[in-house]
């Protein structure tokens, strides 16, 4: 009996491994192996097409003094602060708006209005914004219309406005995906809780602050983590809109600097070092958030 039972479990194990094996192999070949290779190359001078030479921590010492990387990191913090302050909360406002719509039909329509733009590829969105900022674009036309022609400038060329112009891309900052996450969270709040708040005389703002926000805290945290990941890793918008992170280093971000070092200058080792620093920063942030969440859950303060 025992032997049969053991062999049964063993057989299940084999079958289980066989099912996941293709995925695991592909993961190793396309995700873990390149990452491990890049980790090794971060400690080597490796010009693309050449032979790697071990340089120890030299890249990291250079990086800490590299004015381009430092400027990029500062820009990244500004972009991150903006994304967390605006990009995280505007979808919540939209979700609240939909949640409070009077009828299901209106809720459906509003959801569709916010979600449909998700089908537009981001590259198209960025190209549209490049047009908006051009001398023949909407911003110029609007300022001329309202008699403020003297305010017109090269929004992406002017060192004073380039980073701000980049942040403003995506206005009104209501992305479909976070809005849906928030809406799902709001929809999951028990009717009895909402009724209790109403009976206790909570205003709309009061209910938002004391009922909705605490109940959708997991969604806020999830989106905060995703926002940080997206902003730290992303450089495509900068690349499309300004080409090189200019003028000067006004719109440079570490991701773009990594790309330029790797593919424009062929310095794969240095690019790997930049990638490793970004990886460590993201890992530290994610672990920090997880630890915070675990602590909060253990204290029984937050929803589990």
């Amino acid at each position: 009996m025992r032997r049969n039972g053991r062999s049964g479990r063993s057989g299940d194990g084999w079958r289980g491994w066989l099912f996941v094996l293709p995925t695991l192999v592909l993961l190793c070949v396309f995700c873990y192996y390149p990452a491990a290779f890049a980790l090794r190359m971060a400690f080597a001078r490796w010009d693309i097409g050449g032979q790697p030479q071990w340089v120890g921590a030299a890249h990291f010492v250079t990086l800490m003094r590299d004015p381009v990387f430092i400027a990029g990191a500062k820009n990244l913090l500004r972009l991150l602060a903006f994304a967390l302050c605006v990009g995280l909360w505007m979808p919540l406002l939209a979700a609240e708006l939909i949640f409070h719509a009077a009828t299901e039909r209106r809720r459906y329509l509003l959801r569709a209005v916010f979600v449909v733009p998700m089908v537009v590829p981001l590259i198209v969105v960025w190209l549209v914004w490049r047009g908006i900022y051009s001398d023949a674009g909407a911003v110029t036309a609007f300022l001329e219309l309202v008699g403020k022609g003297h305010w017109i400038r090269g929004w992406l060329s002017d060192p004073d406005t380039a980073l701000g112009a980049l942040m403003f891309v995506g206005f009104p900052f209501v992305s479909g995906f976070p809005m849906l996450i928030y809406y799902a969270g709001l929809s999951n709040i028990s009717e009895s809780v909402l009724d209790a708040a109403r009976i206790d005389g909570a205003s709309t703002l009061g209910a938002f602050r004391h009922v909705h926000l605490p109940m959708i805290r997991p969604q806020v945290r999830l989106l905060a983590i995703l926002t940080v990941l997206g902003v730290v890793q992303g450089y495509e918008a900068v690349y499309v809109l300004t080409g090189d992170g200019g003028p000067g280093y006004c719109t440079m971000v570490p991701g773009l600097y990594m790309y330029q070092n790797g593919f424009s200058y062929g310095k794969m080792g240095y690019a790997s070092a930049i990638g490793l620093v970004m990886f460590v920063a993201i890992l530290a942030f994610t672990l920090g958030v997880q630890r915070y969440l675990r602590g909060e859950a253990e204290e029984g303060r937050g929803p589990r």
Binding site: V29, I48, G154, S157, Q260
Partner: protein, 507 residues
Amino acid sequence: MSTRLFWLFLVLVTAVGAVVRAAGGGVPAAGEPHPEPTVAPARHLIEITPGIYRPGNVPQSVGEPLRAFRDIADEYERLHPGVSVRFRQAPAVAGGGEGDWLRTQLAGGIAPEIVQINTEVVWQDLDKGWWVNLEPYLAQPNPYVPGNEVWWDCFADIALTKAKRGPDGNLYCIPMDIVETGIFYNKDVFASLGLSPPADWEEFIRIQKTLKDAGYIPLVVNGFTVVCDWTQDIIFDQLFYEILDQIDLEKGSRDEEAYLRGYLAPKELCYLIKRGFFGPDNPRYREVWRIIRDWRPYWSHELANTDMDRLFLTQRGAMYWSGSWFIRRMKNDPYLDFDWGIFYVPPITKATSPYACGAESAVIGGAGNQYSVTNRAVLDGELDIVIDFLRFLTTPESAERLVGEAQMFFPNVKGARMDPELAAFADIFRHRYCTVKWLYSLSQEFNDTHRRWIMYFVNGGFGLDEFLALSDSYMQQAADYYIDKHGYDFSEYDRVMAERGLSGGGR
């Protein structure tokens, strides 16, 4: 059992990794010789990224899709059964970064056999063995041109072609055509304001002021190409032309000198940078940037990668500094409703700067589409057939058909006729070539750095002193890198400089 399974899994992953690595092929590392092809494949496949001439492409978004290159390839395939010519589209990359994509392809040994790319990008990676030196083949006859003894003789502008030789003295590209820049202007707007094309720089600036006062964008320019590349080269030439004989330290070969007379080669440029000729203390060099900064108010506000064509076509801009390629748009745009003309950048006189030479402005164009052969041709054992196809492409019939169809450039092949619409640009091209091409002379990193700080400077990020101090710093670094990379010895230049009584600074 589970431990055994885990180890089994690891062995499997390692095996798959090894297979994948082996399948990647043996790409020779830098300095290693290319492996000799062993067995010629039964069928020959030539892959090309043809640039603007890609079949199906609609340049400038007007006119019929191009098909000449496909027709020429079909003809070649008929002549050589077993050969297939396939066209690939290289990704369009912002900021002239087409080399980014290509480097990954070359490193993996999977680049197309023939690629269209500025040969200056090729020069950056000559030490990696990715590119085929075409000199030995150019010394042989082109069998498709009756009576031809050496392929060199097939080119219309041999001096220009030889001037594309890299720092090691070898040619790595076939310059198919010639491109030149010029200033398109709206004749209707000019007539309404009583303006005509300028004779000198001072008049040019006055015209721009008039246009600005009338509510037009006086001159539409693209920041990446026009401001950071062309503008710098032309104004630098105007201000340094008078002392060119003194600072030109090494003559090129007789062939090249016909085209590049007095041109500062990278080695000369490095030497002059290290001797402080282009630093903040050189008043002549300061003037270059003072003139550029003073010119800025007359350009479009936005310089970063916007649709400059549209500003001119919709008549918001009265002048547009573009190139011969824009002729196609101007000739074929069905919505164009104004008369237009072309003139070239007028000379700067001493009324603007005491260092101005007042001579006819130099040109900054030259070779347009340049076809280079990659290591893939060697690895696949297709080099001979690839070279043969390029020879077929450089017959007068092929070149005229290919270049003429696009209506953007003039052919660099002897006997191939130019589209008469491009005559104005052919006239401009007869000017002498500029003193130096600042971008493309040193490293890609220098190009990017210089470009970003020029943009910062012209857009008011900092003043002239700060810009010159900063540019001197990164120019010194770029020169050091280049000198180290090529192992330059400057003792001969020091001797020449001493003979000429120049101590540095170019004053």
